[in-house]
Amino acid sequence: MKVKVLFFANLRERVGTGVEVVDLPDSASTVAGLRLHLMRRGGAWHDVLADMKVVRVAVNQDMAAASAPLNPGDEVAFFPPVTGG
């Protein structure tokens, strides 16, 4: 199952990419599953995604919890707490 994964702000800088299509095993079809899949790459991927207290997730541009299910073609974004305004 392919999903589009986006990273923003310091997360984008630390993993070195802003957007990527990830082929996810069917057994990992939740936000938490995707996160573990990416963490297994090690290095910055592991470090950036390890602390979910400072990582927010949106699925198809809506804030989502770790348990949120993923479907083929979904857009999943990882980013830090927002600081606009």
């Binding site: 923003f8 541009q61 974004a77 980013f79 707490p81 606009g84 305004g85």
Partner: protein
């Protein structure tokens, strides 16, 4: 009824003029946020940002009688004193206009996907989210007037 996420500067006077045309309007409240001291780059999530602001305004419209509004948030490179954000709300009476304007700003700071990177002489630094901003948004939970923040 305007929501804009843009790189360009804005003119508060023109925005206010644009939303005060309806003759039921008796009050317009507005807020402008600007860059303090240090140059910064504002990153955002195109698409989600506009949707998030739309939801915040819808929530405000469910609580107060809003006749018109304009919300503009900039992104990109900004210098000290540059304008970052503006919210203007038109209503029949000032109570609704003041409250809705403050509510929209408080939620923009915690819900809209923008990130500030400051350019200090010693290097760049991503701004950390502040607990006080979360508290400012949370004090509106289920209320039409904000609870007072602790000093």
């Amino acid at each position: 009824m305007k929501i804009s996420v843009q790189a360009e500067d804005f003119d508060l006077g023109l925005e206010v003029l644009d939303i005060q045309q309806d003759n039921r309007i008796g009050a317009v409240a507005s807020f402008v946020g600007q860059v303090r001291e240090v140059a910064m780059t504002l990153e955002h999530y195109p698409g989600m940002t506009e949707n998030a602001i739309k939801k915040i305004v819808e929530e405000a419209r469910a609580r107060w009688k809003i006749l018109d509004f304009s919300v503009i948030h900039r992104y990109g490179d900004l210098q000290p004193n540059d304008q970052i954000v503006m919210v203007a709300v038109a209503s029949s009476h000032r109570g609704d206009a003041f409250a809705a304007c403050q509510f929209i700003m408080d939620y923009l700071k915690t819900e809209a996907p923008f990130w500030k990177k400051e350019h200090h002489p010693e290097g760049v630094r991503w701004v950390d989210a502040r607990d006080s901003d979360d508290e400012a948004a949370q004090r509106w939970r289920g209320l039409k007037q904000p609870r007072l923040l602790k000093p």
